[in-house]
């Protein structure tokens, strides 16, 4: 049986099935918490735990799916290109928003970690949690973080952002699609962007720009943070 689970088709089929169930539940319940990505992740983990299937077996197929993350991010260029006139008009607000957002993200992560009594290493691991994984993984070890904890925090942030985005848009009374996209992309990187795309093309394009800019700005911010061990 183990050979079956180790085949790439297992991870791929399980992911697709779980995601389809997620879409179905979202349609039926219309609840924000019924996010297809969240449901799919929970279902897949449940199946792996229940049948004692090692993560490595799932990843034989999972890594095939993950390959598409790069191209999916790259083709955001198309949305950005079609929204070029809007971007030109609102470049200043978008830049200001991503700079302030990134500073608040790093600053609040630092203060809240202290407040929750986390030690130095865990705090350092959480500082860059709002940018997408490749950015975060490049920065985190330099500022004394543990990569595994950073990845966990980044993924949790992304899923939370995707699930919570509609509620936060309502709470902050955001109706402008530019404001919505930039806020989603800055606070919850590419995973949030995948949700922004479903809200509309402007939201998706702005979220894509914001995730790239927030990532670059956070790299700049990290240069001013202490680099232990160097």
């Amino acid at each position: 049986m183990n050979e079956v689970f180790a085949s790439p088709f297992f991870g791929i089929t399980l992911s697709i099935l779980a995601f389809e169930i997620g879409i179905w539940v979202e349609k039926k319940t219309k609840l924000a918490i019924a996010n297809p990505l969240l449901i799919a992740v929970v279902l897949c983990i449940a199946v792996l735990e229940l049948f004692h299937i090692p993560l490595a077996s799932f990843d034989a197929g999972g890594s095939v799916i993950s390959v598409f993350l790069g191209p999916a991010t790259a083709v955001l260029a198309l949305s950005i290109y079609t929204q070029l006139s809007r971007l030109k008009k609102y470049f200043l607000p978008v830049l200001a928003g991503t700079v302030v957002g990134s500073l608040v993200s790093v600053g609040s992560a630092y203060l809240l970690s202290k407040w929750f009594g986390l030690d130095r290493v865990l705090t350092d691991s959480l500082l860059v949690k709002s940018v997408s994984t490749p950015f975060a993984l490049a920065i985190s070890p330099n500022i004394g973080g543990i990569p595994a904890v950073t990845v966990a925090a980044v993924v949790l942030t992304g899923i939370l952002g995707a699930v919570w985005a509609p509620a936060m848009l309502k709470l902050f009374r955001v109706r402008d699609p530019v404001v919505a996209g930039v806020a989603i992309g800055t606070s919850s990187h590419a995973v949030g962007t995948s949700k922004a795309i479903t809200l509309g093309e402007v939201e998706g394009a702005m979220s894509g720009i914001a995730l790239a800019m927030a990532g670059l700005i956070t790299v700049l911010i990290s240069l001013f943070l202490p680099h232990p061990g160097q």
Partner: protein, 125 residues
Amino acid sequence: MLQIGLVFGVCLLGQIVSVLLPVPIPGSVISMVLLFLLLFFKAVHVDRIRQKADFLLKNMAFFFVPAGVGIISQFREIREHLLALLGVVILTTFFTFGATALTVRGVMKLQELGRSRKRKPRTVA
């Protein structure tokens, strides 16, 4: 097929540039910039990649499923501090979202104000 080849080719190029750059910028972000430049300078027409781009964008959330499942491999390291970690993640996401939204909206209003002031004819005596 040529469409998907073009997108993957740009991604490969982005990866190469990412490795060569001294600053940590992910290959996917560089690919995004490269593809944007190709579209901007009309080296590639939008219609040539529209179909595949739509497929990728529409299914973006799905492509994150394995990354999300991978969190169980980090579970041992975060288990002890799970509640505190979740607290930090939830609150920082909230603050970041709010700060970004308010800043974008605020600067937009300032911009509008500046524009409308410029438009007004000056009635200088």
